[in-house]
Subunit: 202 residues, 2 copies
DNA sequence: GAGTTAATTGAACAATTGTTTAATTCTAGC
DNA sequence: GCTAGAATTAAACAATTGTTCAATTAACTC
């Protein structure tokens, strides 16, 4: 046998991405075999190599894609305003964006260690750029006296950890809606940075 | 060849634990082979099976050991007091305990998915018990009017995520000392729960 | 409808995996 | 100094791993 009826490359590569994303998120990169990804796509293992040179390239492709889409999405919706409002915007954006893409979020911070040297460095750069966004807001808010923070670096990292921690417990069918979780998180972050007026940050 | 000079079982099993802990933390359970653990211990792969029936049992042994030691350590140092002080105590304890054992902390929340069904359930129970500690403090503080919290569950989970996130960025040779990080974290958590008097929680 | 290209199979590769077992050497107790 | 048991090696097992490639079939072009 060979080419199967109705198969097109663009379709197959997309189904491969989806299968790999699901499996990497659920089992972890190292525990997933090329045959498992192929089986889930309804294809033989050899076919994968028409689209990705190695297993590592699948992971890297997923992570780059996620980070680029994330950065683009933020750029498209960010607005100029005070540090308080911009930080609240960022929290809302981050929560909303990731809760709709839990698998991407999960692998993008769980599978960093599965990346080879060069790939790791590139993804790390992406992350640094993204994490610089809240950091700058906090520093700006401090400079203008709108925030009261003991240590900008630790506070930023704590906020990022708190945001990323969402993946470990959020369930779509949970008690709270996405909007309610956003509200709670915005309130928490607002307190963490010691924003002057606790309410009214829209 | 066979038994090597100066070898005792108690010593070997401890070195095996240490090797497995280091490798699991660095590479991930699935990416570590029995031969890699053996090599790091200075022993052949077959020797491991005198102490652990399977690879899975090594991971489980490490996780159970960590969770039990963690719970014991907290019980030994906890004291009766107000919710504010007890929560600050807990944060300080958690930060200090884990920053001295980054590898245990790392695998105990990164490798949960590598556990087989039954083992996973047992470790999850341990975790639930431990995470109930801050949750109860928060609920108690709310009931007494000492805390002002929008949602107890989400706030608890956010605090736990923030605490666990330490592993992803803490470095022993970093800018801040363990004590300074503790102080910042206690302040952050205190704000998150809306503790009435922000300072003076010792 | 013939010829070209795109897409896939299926078998094969060597390497590595977790685990078992018989043989061997060391240590401890008498 | 002998012996029993503890500790380990080294070889072997079948299964699985990532990857390659010639053969084969489907879709597209003219």
């Amino acid at each position: 046998m060979a080419r199967t009826a109705g198969s097109t490359g663009a379709d197959t590569v997309e189904r491969l991405r989806e299968a790999a994303l699901e499996l990497f998120a659920r089992e972890g990169y190292a525990a997933v075999s090329m045959r498992a990804i192929a089986a889930r796509t309804g294809v033989q293992a050899g076919a994968i190599y028409n689209y990705f040179p190695t297993k590592q390239d699948i992971l890297f492709d997923l992570l780059v894609g996620h980070m680029e889409a994330l950065a683009t999405a933020w750029r498209e919706m960010e607005r100029l305003s005070t540090a308080e409002i911009r930080l609240a915007d960022f929290v809302r954006f981050h929560v909303r964006y990731h809760l709709v893409r839990p698998r991407e979020m999960f692998i993008s911070y769980m599978e960093l260690r599965s990346l080879e040297e060069d790939n790791f460095r590139r993804i790390r750069e992406f992350r640094r750029g993204y994490e610089a966004i809240p950091r700058q807001m906090i520093e700006q808010g401090m400079a203008k006296g709108a925030f009261d923070v003991l240590d900008a670096e630790v506070t930023t990292r704590a906020i990022i950890a708190l945001l990323n921690g969402l993946t470990t417990w959020y369930r779509e069918d949970g008690r709270l809606s996405l909007g309610e979780i956003e509200t709670v998180y915005i309130g928490l972050v607002s307190r963490m940075v010691g924003a002057r007026e606790e309410e009214g940050n829209v």
